[in-house]
């Protein structure tokens, strides 16, 4: 009886042990939403192709690193990160042929292993995977920003789940920095043009913008380590993305902006060094008695930093 009552608490704790668990759940929810509500939504076939590409690249990358370090072949295989890239790409990328999804995740994760500065990858794997396909293949790879509709429902849904995710991955600053700057630019422009506020509101209620803000630019592994650095980064990406939309109507504006400015991260990290974020490793604490059940203080403090196990930089 007692054990049964503790089950949900135990389950919550198990999920909460790693912010990526929340991300995976939220992204799966978005996948399902897109699949069921859109004429041109995410499809399960794409999921299979993305997954294959991600796992293959992650396996090769991990094996090479392990061989070099003299560890067991698949030591430190990060299936969770591969999974996030998989679903992120599936949800955002549309393609004329299924192999493109495979190529996108494969490219994205390969770049995570290949392009590193100071042991930290430069590009968000999902973002760079999608952007490379769009640049290489032209119209055969595209993002459908309009397909999420302008539903407050999805906005709220993404916000709620994302807040949960980020509270533990402590990257709400970058999401809010991005959205705040982006919104400020659009509102200022509308005010200058004399446009009704319905226009910037319409532009901001795009579902794909929220997905980008909460699931991509917030990746703690490819964004600056210091808070000021992250805010600077968020403001730059938002400004470039807004310019892309106002100016040349660039396809996949926020993604393109993030990919283009990813090189700023190592620079910012050099100028403003701070403790590096690491994903939690291993299982949650073995003895449940040692931890307070359910909500931990970190939860209440989304601006806090939850460096689970800091590795020296």
């Amino acid at each position: 009886m007692d054990a049964l009552a503790r089950l949900p608490v135990a389950l919550f704790r198990r999920i909460d042990a790693d912010p990526r668990h929340w991300q995976i759940i939220a992204l799966f929810g978005l996948f399902f939403f897109s699949y069921t509500t859109s004429s041109f939504g995410a499809d399960p076939r794409a999921l299979a192709f993305s997954f294959s590409g991600a796992v293959l690249a992650q396996t090769i990358g991990t094996a090479i690193l392990s061989l070099r370090a003299g560890k067991a072949l698949l030591d430190g295989f990060e299936w969770k990160s591969a999974m996030i890239t998989t679903i992120g790409v599936t949800v955002l990328l549309r393609a004329a042929d299924p192999w493109i999804w495979f190529a996108a995740t494969f490219t994205g994760i390969s770049m995570k292993f290949l392009i590193r500065v100071n042991h930290k990858h430069v590009f968000n794997p999902g973002c760079i995977g999608i952007v490379s396909m769009m640049l290489l293949l032209g119209r055969d790879a595209w993002v459908s920003p309009g397909q999420w509709g302008q539903m407050p429902l999805i906005a709220g849904y993404a916000l709620a789940l994302a807040a949960l995710t980020l509270s533990s991955a402590k990257r709400l600053d970058i999401a809010l920095g991005f959205l705040g700057t982006f919104a400020a630019i659009l509102f200022a422009r509308a005010a200058w043009l004399g446009d009704p506020m319905a226009i910037p509101l319409h532009q901001l209620s795009s579902g794909s913008l929220l997905i980008f803000a909460f699931f991509m630019i917030t990746d703690p592994r490819s964004t600056p380590d210091s808070r000021l650095g992250r805010l600077l980064f968020a403001v730059s990406v938002a400004s470039l993305a807004a310019w892309f939309i106002i100016g040349p109507n660039q396809r996949g504006a926020p993604l393109m902006a993030l990919a283009a400015l990813a090189v700023l991260t190592p620079l910012i990290d050099r100028l403003m060094p701070a403790r590096r974020f690491e994903w939690p490793r291993g299982a949650p604490p073995a003895d449940p008695g040692l931890r307070q059940p359910a909500i931990t203080p970190v939860w209440m403090n989304p601006w806090g930093t939850k460096e689970t196990r800091s590795h020296e930089t």
């Binding site: 859109s38 004429s39 041109f40 549309r94 393609a95 004329a96 293949l137 032209g138 119209r139 055969d140 790879a141 595209w142 459908s144 920003p145 309009g146 397909q147 999420w148 509709g149 302008q150 200058w192 043009l193 004399g194 446009d195 009704p196 319905a198 226009i199 319409h202 532009q203 795009s206 040349p248 109507n249 396809r251």
Partner: protein, 463 residues
């Protein structure tokens, strides 16, 4: 069930669709000099796009005194005379007909005959048949600059730039373009973005007196693939109806700032829909718009222009496509492809037909488009299935068939009700009048399905 004949259904003339949309429309608007009732039922825009090269063809169902016709469209650049053309209205009509939602008819065959043949086939083992498929005051005083002045066909065209929207609007109003109230802000926003105004009126000297005005075409280059629709929303008298026909090399076109939704398709509908297809299409479109809270763009057709199945109209010829602005075809037409066999000549053109009903509330922003690499064909297609009529007692198969008919008719009624929002009982009544109900099937004992009963009633039998 055998495909007896494909009915290339209703090359639906949009003019025939009296959507209750009052005067003015477009990416610009049509304005009347006098307060006469002008009806612009629907605007049709053809966009042929390759890279940054774009040809826009703008057609409307303008009916009325041509002296009262005026068109105002924001443009990104000052076009040269050679960049402007007038097109044969038949081109747009042809494209419209080719892409229109269609009805398809099938005729059921004698079930006894089918039974006999089935027996024969079994005896003859695997003999599988292939499946069947289917002028002017001083402009300077108002801060308005006439950047260019052209005479094209029956039109007098001006390209205007201005410092202030007030000046431009006053000037336009004094020169016979009646601009509705509330346009200032929108005009001002376009001016601040550096856009010019393309304004056209009909020259009475050059007009041949025909009631039909020809579509205006403009060829331009711009990195932005968009369509300005905001001026069309100024007129508060209801929603505007717009059809966009996008022609690309790559594939389907969707709106990148609004949701694009496929119109429901491939449904079996009652036979009587044939006689009221226009009503059906209007009701269905309205109902679907409502379901999406008015905020979606509907895709009605997306197809490789080399062929069609079934064809609501013949595919457009290469020369027709070129006239509509498909500029990349001339580059390939010099190299004749060696061909053998059947079918039309392959053309490297993919058409997407988008349909939207908009106002300032549901579509606050201009439309921006995304060209995708998706070449999956899609069409708005509704199926009529004619039942076999005969002696349903002649063989067992006939009796069984009669039973399937009743079930099928009920499903048709429900699907029509779902598509259009019409009352399902009224649909059933109409079907019964036409002999599409159980009572019309004499001589057979129909196991009456009880669709009126809810599942719990059926579960406990207490209904």
């Amino acid at each position: 069930m055998k495909l007896k004949h494909l009915f290339a259904g209703l090359a639906l003339p949009l003019a025939g669709l009296a959507f209750a949309a009052p005067a003015s429309a477009f990416c610009g608007f049509y304005v009347a000099k006098a307060d006469t009732d002008l009806f612009n039922d629907a605007s049709k825009v053809v966009l042929a796009r390759d890279g940054e090269r774009t040809v826009i063809t703008m057609a409307s169902d303008f009916r009325g005194d041509v002296s009262e016709f005026a068109m105002v469209v924001p443009v990104v650049d000052i076009p040269q005379r050679e960049q402007i053309n007038v097109a044969n209205p038949a081109l747009v009509d042809h494209l419209d007909a080719y892409t229109a939602p269609r009805l398809v008819e099938y005729y059921d065959e004698d079930p006894c005959e089918a039974e006999r043949r089935y027996e024969q086939m079994r005896e003859m083992a695997d003999m599988a048949a292939p499946p069947m498929a289917g002028a002017m005051e001083e402009a300077d005083d108002f801060g308005v600059t006439i950047e260019a002045e052209y005479e094209v066909g029956e039109y007098d065209i001006l390209i205007l730039s201005a410092e202030e929207s007030d000046g431009l609007i006053t000037w336009l109003n004094r020169n016979g373009y009646r601009i509705p109230d509330g346009a200032e802000e929108i005009v001002s926003a376009y001016l601040k973005r550096g856009m010019k105004f393309f304004v056209a009126k009909v020259s009475l000297e050059r007009h041949d007196g025909s009631a039909m005005l020809r579509p205006i075409q403009v060829a331009y280059e711009d990195e932005d693939f968009m369509l300005p629709i905001r001026l069309g929303t100024v007129n508060a008298e209801g929603k505007q109806e717009l059809f966009v026909f996008a022609l690309t090399r790559e594939g389907r076109v969707e709106t990148s700032n609004y949701r694009t939704v496929k119109l429901p398709s491939d449904m079996d509908v009652p036979i009587y829909v044939k006689d009221e297809f226009a009503d059906f299409y209007k009701a269905m479109f309205s109902h679907q718009v409502e379901k999406e809270s008015g905020k979606a763009v509907f895709m009605e057709y997306a197809w490789d222009m080399a062929w069609c199945d079934p064809c609501a109209a013949e595919p457009l010829s290469q020369s027709e496509l070129r006239e509509l602005g498909v500029m990349w075809l001339e580059e390939v037409s010099d190299s004749p492809t060696p061909r053998g066999g059947f079918g039309p000549a392959p053309v490297d053109v993919f058409v997407t037909r988008l349909h939207l009903r908009y106002d300032a509330k549901t579509f606050p922003e201009d439309l921006t488009f995304e060209i995708t690499g998706d070449r999956e064909n899609y069409q708005g297609r509704y199926v009529l299935r004619h039942p076999w009529r005969g002696d349903y007692t002649s063989c067992k198969a006939a009796g069984d068939y009669a039973n399937t008919l009743v079930k099928r008719w009920d499903e048709e009624a429900i699907s029509l009700a779902r598509l259009t929002g019409w009352d399902v009982n009224k649909i059933r009544g109409k079907m019964a009048e036409g002999g599409f109900s159980a009572s019309a099937l004499k001589g057979v004992e129909i196991e009456t399905p009880s669709p009126q009963k809810s599942w719990w009633e059926r579960l406990w039998g207490n209904g």
